[in-house]
Symmetry: C2
Subunit: 205 residues, 2 copies
DNA sequence: CATAATAATGACGCTGCGTCAACTTCCGCC
DNA sequence: GGCGGAAGTTGACGCAGCGTCATTATTATG
């Protein structure tokens, strides 16, 4: 026992905190999926754990903050994929395809983790957490970078980034509604669309 | 007095109902703008009127339903603009431009009506009301129609419609954040982008 | 082992929810 | 005109979730 403790450098306290935080996030994911974000309450979340109601507030200030933590989490897992696509890409088209493909596959996986039947009546909520804003920046920088290197025409990169993101969001949502969802097809669509779209928009600056 | 009443065909009851419903919607618009949708409560809304709390529930089942009514309202006002653009258009490009232009100008006006300082920290909420779904259908049909008549290539019209809508939403939001917002520039961007984008996507079917 | 530091607990007061019996207002009819 | 009933309004009520905080339990430290 004592040896086991010796092998474990971090304190019991620290471990418990991490575990609690995790339990809350896991429960929240479940509850949001089941009841929908709007209907869910802090009490519902905490009931999904072994903890007492007061404990929740040692970790998060509100339901909203939990949601942000979850989004942030997703964004944080996704960002490296995007960056990898950027670094790996040799052509602009390849970058676009990899980025969209990564996003659509990511969406698929996330949905499966949530394993909800996806009852499409609940209002869609989207928060702009720091990590999500960072993703926007990543996209914008990639596009500007490509423009700099002559791979893509110069263009209003702010609008362009937003156009790509909006497109990805909506096409992604549409993809998820299909049976079976085909992330690769969606990625091909988006890539082709944006690739030529940029040329069109460039002509118009 | 009696003549005035005679000139007024509809009953007092009916008029009061319309007025109450309207008062609630107006108050809700104000409250949502001021406190943000999430933070707003039914009580806040009803306090913004002369009515009693119970009366609210004679008109709406919940805050969500009020929000849907407001969105529906917006969508209902916007739809004719879209349809007009479709009927007026002689080229596909013109249709696209008119549609985007209508949307971006519509956004600008709606914001001014709300006259909020637009404190960009509140989460963005989007509900798919019947009227908004109808708009999606309108867009999709327009695009299919254009494809049929050979004005635009045949293409996955579901993805395409979603791409256009997502693009319009995000670019529209970005436009609103600029000072001053330029709806025409945004419309030109979106039109050019989509016009060529479609060609690219078509090649990929 | 004693003591301090830290975190978990759940009862508490408060606020908003949706309901409903009582009340008010309006309409149709004699 | 005025009476009866339908339609609509009202606000108090019971209930549930909120966020807090004094208390208790657990862990770290010397």
């Amino acid at each position: 026992m004592s040896e086991a403790a010796a092998f474990e450098p971090i304190g019991k306290r620290e471990r418990a905190k991490a575990a609690n935080r995790d339990a809350i996030l896991k429960a929240a994911r479940r509850v949001f999926a089941q009841l929908g974000y709007e209907a869910a309450t802090v009490r519902d979340i905490i009931r999904g754990t072994e903890l007492a109601s007061g404990t929740f507030y040692n970790y998060f200030r509100s339901k909203e903050e939990v949601f942000e933590a979850l989004s942030d989490d997703g964004a944080r897992r996704f960002k490296p994929l995007l960056r990898a696509a950027r670094e790996r890409a040799e052509t602009f088209e390849q970058y676009l395809h990899d980025a969209f493909s990564a996003y659509f596959h990511f969406l698929l996986e996330e949905r499966n983790v949530g394993e909800r039947p996806l009852d499409e009546r609940q209002p869609h909520v989207r928060t702009d957490t720091p990590e999500m804003i960072a993703i926007y920046e990543e996209v914008r920088l990639s596009l500007e970078d490509a423009a700099m290197r002559g791979l893509a025409p110069r263009i209003d990169s702010d609008y362009l980034a937003h156009a790509c993101i909006g497109l990805a969001q909506e096409v992604g949502a549409a993809m998820l509604r299909r049976t079976p969802p085909d992330a690769d097809a969606a990625a091909r669509f988006a890539t082709a669309f944006v690739l030529r779209g940029i040329e069109g928009a460039a002509r118009n600056d």
